[in-house]
């Protein structure tokens, strides 16, 4: 289509285009890989891994809200070893950056996973300190600067590939956490994870989710994501993978203008498996119409009043 240069760099990792798929919304790529070649994507943040296999939370795990969804999947995954043995080789058949997403119960667990994944040759590790669906650890790491810094430090010590830390939006001041994580040596930041929310079935009087609350994602959260990416980009000097509610090229352009180097598409895939491809093409079109040679020219280009 357009002649815009699509490739971008995220903490030294080259992405052939700035569209990545968000962790937990795209599995390990097998399912949506039935619809198109995964090489169309810039990268994949794989489903969140833990050291050991987890079955996740009891159902129901999904509730719809106005232009959003709540989920309480709770990190169901086969464990980091199974990922390395069974999923990574499959992903490597395609030409896209593979970003492993990890959650630990202790800083040590993060360290072990970083070692294993670095050795296995993923392109990047996304350290999830912000998943609101796990009782142990999880959210607490993402809301306390010292803990966030500690996890980051351990991850950096054990990883030989770039470490990206994923921030929670459920905080008073996201720049405080961003700064702590940056000071601890993170190579990149990704944001936002889900906002905590709840939906109640008024007939049964039960929360729809068995965990009572869950994480809100989808278009509803886009304005919060844009604000936080802008704040974080203004506060720290690290590349950002922006996400939260992206469903159109314009949404991705907003996040890039706010300061993101690349953009992840998550919930939008559920309505439309082709969403990441469409977002990529529309984004290229926007850059093209605006006369940019490269999409990366958008990054940080917002002109605040």
């Amino acid at each position: 289509m357009s002649k815009v240069e699509l490739s971008v760099e995220l903490a030294g990792v080259k992405l052939k285009n700035p569209i990545v798929v968000a962790s937990g919304t795209f599995g390990f790529g097998r399912e949506y890989g039935q619809f198109y070649d995964l090489s169309e994507l810039g990268g994949i943040c794989a489903k969140g891994l833990t050291l050991h296999r987890r079955e996740g939370n009891p159902p129901p795990r999904i509730a719809e809200t106005p232009m959003g969804i709540l989920n309480s999947v709770g990190l169901q995954n086969p464990g980091v070893d199974a990922f390395i043995a069974e999923e990574l080789p499959e992903l490597r058949k395609h030409d896209l950056a593979v970003i492993a997403n990890i959650s630990g119960n202790t800083p040590e667990e993060y360290g072990i996973m970083c070692e294993k994944l670095s050795a296995a040759g993923v392109d990047m590790i996304e350290v999830n300190i912000s998943c609101p669906n796990v009782k142990a650890g999880g959210l607490a790491y993402g809301t306390k600067p010292e803990l966030a810094a500690e996890v980051t430090k351990v991850a950096k010590e054990h990883a030989t590939v770039p470490v990206m830390v994923k921030l929670s939006p459920n905080v008073t001041d996201i720049t405080e956490i961003a700064r702590a994580v940056a000071d601890a040596g993170a190579d990149a930041l990704s944001l936002i994870n889900t906002l905590r929310g709840m939906r109640i079935d008024v007939n049964t009087r039960r929360p729809i989710l068995k965990m009572n609350t869950g994480g809100l994602s989808g278009p509803a959260v886009l304005p919060v994501a844009v604000r936080m990416v802008w704040e974080v980009a203004s506060a720290v000097n690290l590349p950002i993978l922006g996400m939260g509610g992206v469903a159109k090229g314009e949404d991705a352009a907003q996040l890039m203008l706010a300061g993101a180097s690349a953009v992840a598409v998550g919930t939008a895939c559920f309505a439309d498996p082709y969403a990441p491809i469409k977002v990529r093409d529309e984004l290229a079109e926007i850059a093209c119409v605006q006369g940019h040679g490269k999409v990366s020219d958008l990054t940080g280009g917002v002109r605040p009043w």
């Binding site: 937990g24 996740g56 559920f270």
Partner: protein
Amino acid sequence: MPIEQRCTIVEMTPLNDSTWWMTLEVGKMVEEQGLRAGQFLHVACGEGNLLRRPISVACVLADEPENTAALIFEVKGEGTRWLAGRKVGEQVNVLGPLGNGFSVEERGRYLLVGGGIGVPPLLGYAEAYHKNAVAVLGFRSADRVILAERFRECCKEVYLCTDDGSLGRHGFVDAQVRDILEKEKDFTAILACGPKPMLKSVAKVAAEYGVPCQVSMEERMACGVGACLGCAIQMADGTMKHVCKDGPVFDAREVEWNV
């Protein structure tokens, strides 16, 4: 392999005051992907609703009308209300074929057990085993009954039950199933679809009489294709399976019923 497709609506008929029969031209899904009853389509339900809605395929016609599938749905909330407002000639965007459908043998003898809006996915099986299957269909009351005539046309026997006794047998389907199995257990399997408490009781009766039982389960879905892990159900062995990818049909013995 699932595909995304805009399908033209070729029939839209109310079956009762809140249930619709919608026939869709599904084209390649039948020819190339082998769409069949008991699988489901993930249907986009208008701009106001972010998620697609899973609706089972009641039956598939390879011809007359060519390559069509019937979806039968009840209006529950906003998505199905939107769907009920569609007209013949309009298009709906669907993902499919999704899920497995019931696993059947060519010469099998099946006992079909459906409850309420769980009845439609059995229709294709009733038709496939012409005059060979036995059906037990349960509804809340006489005015909720759907598809009874069609099942009568193609089943060996049809037993109707209503919760309030306003038509057929008074009570739940599992009592009827028990009576049938009491007389003869010689079924290849029970194929059941309906609300979870019903499936649980039917599974229990089936186990008592040693008859294999397949159940079609529901869970809230996001992706519909196995990517989000949203539609988990608990298995008896402590693991999770996913309705959209591993189901919606499961062996009743594998399911953890006590949650």
